[in-house]
């Protein structure tokens, strides 16, 4: 049995990575997870300059999940390159750098800077619902999504994964748009915009008023969207959204994902990714799959 997967020319030792923003740059989880056993580590979004993020409260628990409006706080690309890349390079895993920005130029600046760095893939976040500029503004309009994909591809030396938002009418149309722009892969779904109200204080729970809903509650929505995107484009799809168990991960792969990201479940159990890697292997053994690619998108 072989758990290796090939995502846009990059070979991962297994199909499991982590969702950007739920894992820092790996350092905080290194006490709980053997980072060598992850297919890839996807880092917290990084911009050209440091971002302070949103006011607190930034998170709230909701039934079967959570909401966040962290607002892409990050130390900026310089600190990231000096500190986080060397840290991750100590481990035998692939590095996927999530890139955020307020304008096309911001994204391109980070992508150009990373062209000279020892990282394996780039994930372009055009789907964050919690920042006023950039983010989702590029991810809800197919023309804008295609244009920014084209722009970053000019500077990118590593394969580009476009991270898509579920807050759209047609995920298939968005996936096709970034494919037309030259994307090497897509990842989905980012969080679903939500709101929670504190009925005793009679105000919004999050300082940002709205936030992105994640966790097992959104898993069926994510499976449906991964299925639709995978059937709309030829690109590999990295599936995420509420994966908390190996069974959830397998479901996503059968729907069409070539790899999966574990997000909110890392907060419920920092060691969960190890169980998911092991559990996918056990499923393959039980069901007689020799390779992961035999499983991808076979439910039609």
């Amino acid at each position: 049995m072989d758990m290796k997967v090939n995502i846009a020319g990059v070979e991962w030792k297994n199909p499991v990575t982590v969702a950007s923003g739920t894992f820092g740059s790996g350092a905080e989880f290194a006490d709980y997870v053997d980072l060598n056993r992850l297919g890839a580590v996807t880092t917290k979004g990084v911009a050209n300059i440091p971002w302070a993020g949103n006011p607190t409260p930034r998170v709230a628990e909701v039934y079967g999940g959570m909401m966040n409006a962290v607002g892409l706080q990050n130390p900026g690309i310089d600190v990231f390159c000096e500190r986080d890349i060397p840290f991750l390079r100590q481990y035998d895993t692939k590095i996927i750098v999530n890139v955020c920005g307020k304008s096309t130029e911001d994204y391109c600046e980070v992508v150009e800077r990373l062209a000279g760095e020892d990282v394996d893939m780039l994930e372009i976040n055009i789907s964050c619902p919690n920042v006023k500029e950039g983010g989702i503004a590029f991810g809800q309009d197919p023309k804008a999504a295609e244009a920014i994909t084209k722009a970053v591809k000019k500077y990118a030396k590593q394969p580009v994964i476009m991270k898509l938002s579920p807050n759209v009418t047609s995920i298939a149309e968005m996936a096709k748009a970034v494919e037309a722009g030259g994307a090497d892969a897509v990842s989905l779904i980012n969080t679903i915009t939500g709101m929670k109200i504190d009925i005793n204080r009679r105000t919004f729970v999050l300082a940002n008023r709205t936030g992105g809903v994640s966790g097992p509650a959104i898993h069926p929505i994510a499976v449906r969207m991964v299925y639709e995107a995978a059937n709309a484009v030829k690109l590999p799809v990295i599936g995420m959204g509420g994966i908390a168990t190996a069974e959830d991960a397998v479901e996503m792969i059968l729907a069409g994902a070539s790899a999966v990201s574990v997000g909110t479940a890392n907060f419920h159990d920092p060691g969960v990714t190890m169980d998911i890697v092991d559990g996918i292997g056990e499923y393959m053994k039980q069901q007689g799959f020799e390779t992961v690619s035999e499983m991808i998108g076979i439910v039609r």
């Binding site: 440091p50 920092p270 060691g271």
Partner: protein, 261 residues
């Protein structure tokens, strides 16, 4: 390497010690390394509630490998309500100890205030037990006459009480108790609601007193990764590269001059 993990701690005992305030002893590996002012992440056994509840450590018994947590049930159908129903022999998933804790050693040969307000009172108990200082002045504030942990405090220092309704001690808050009793200190340790900590920080700055405050904020991961529980720092923070510090990882205890609250 992978030295830490979520663990199923065993409940040794549980009792209600005031209205909505529960005291629970648990047997946990977290006890071995725990310090006063640190917290543990406590998880519910309900699959619809995913996030840990950060609960401060009230007492540490290294010999038996156990910790005491004293916490408030925040309402109906909450995670803390579920915790309050656990009984001896039940298990509860925990991770810890987390955070930095109070620097108790800085109080040696000093006159100290150990201040707690409301559900910020419990972590002050282990601090009081461990601290060696010239004058240990424990100033604790409550809503009313339900002055939980008071007897334990009285075994560990001079105790001054404030109550919002004036039923016991000074009527008002912990700052009122300091004024009424003409107390002075060279170092302050405090945990409680933000308005209380704000007043203590202002007092410490006016009087040039070294002051450590334990902050609270909504958390998700509890281990420094998600950046949910930040507070504003006076100087640019080394890790974040902006004026934010992580309460769960860089705190929850901060030198009051370091943070803006």
């Amino acid at each position: 390497m992978t030295s830490k993990k979520k663990e199923n701690a065993q409940v040794i005992s549980q009792e209600m010690i005031a209205q909505d305030i529960y005291s629970m002893w648990i047997n946990t590996e977290a006890a071995a390394e725990a310090k006063p002012g640190q917290f543990i992440s406590m998880y519910t056994n309900d699959g619809s509630r995913l996030l840990p509840r950060p609960i401060s450590i009230c007492e540490i018994d290294k010999d038996s490998g156990s910790l005491r947590v004293v916490y408030r049930v925040t309402g109906k159908n909450t995670g803390t309500e579920e915790f309050s129903k656990l009984q001896a022999g039940d298990t509860i998933p925990v991770i810890g100890p987390l955070g930095n804790g109070f620097p108790a050693e800085k109080a040696v040969r000093k006159r100290a205030f150990l201040m707690g307000g409301g559900i910020g009172v419990p972590p002050i108990l282990e601090l009081a037990k461990q601290m060696e200082c010239e004058k240990k002045q424990i100033v604790v504030g409550y809503r009313d006459a339900e002055t939980f942990l008071r007897e334990e405090f009285e075994q560990n220092g001079e105790v001054y009480i404030s109550t919002e309704d004036g039923s016991i001690g000074t009527k008002g808050n912990v700052m009122d108790a300091i004024r009424e009793n003409d107390l002075e200190a060279d170092i302050i340790y405090a945990c409680g609601p933000t308005p209380m900590l704000r007043a203590i920080k202002a007092y410490a700055e006016e009087n040039g007193v070294e002051c450590y405050i334990s902050l609270e904020e909504r958390m998700a991961c509890g281990i420094g990764a998600c950046l949910a529980c930040v507070c504003q720092s006076k100087e640019k923070d080394h890790h974040s590269n902006v004026h934010n510090k992580r309460i769960c990882k860089d705190g929850p205890v901060f030198l009051s001059a370091e943070v803006e609250i």
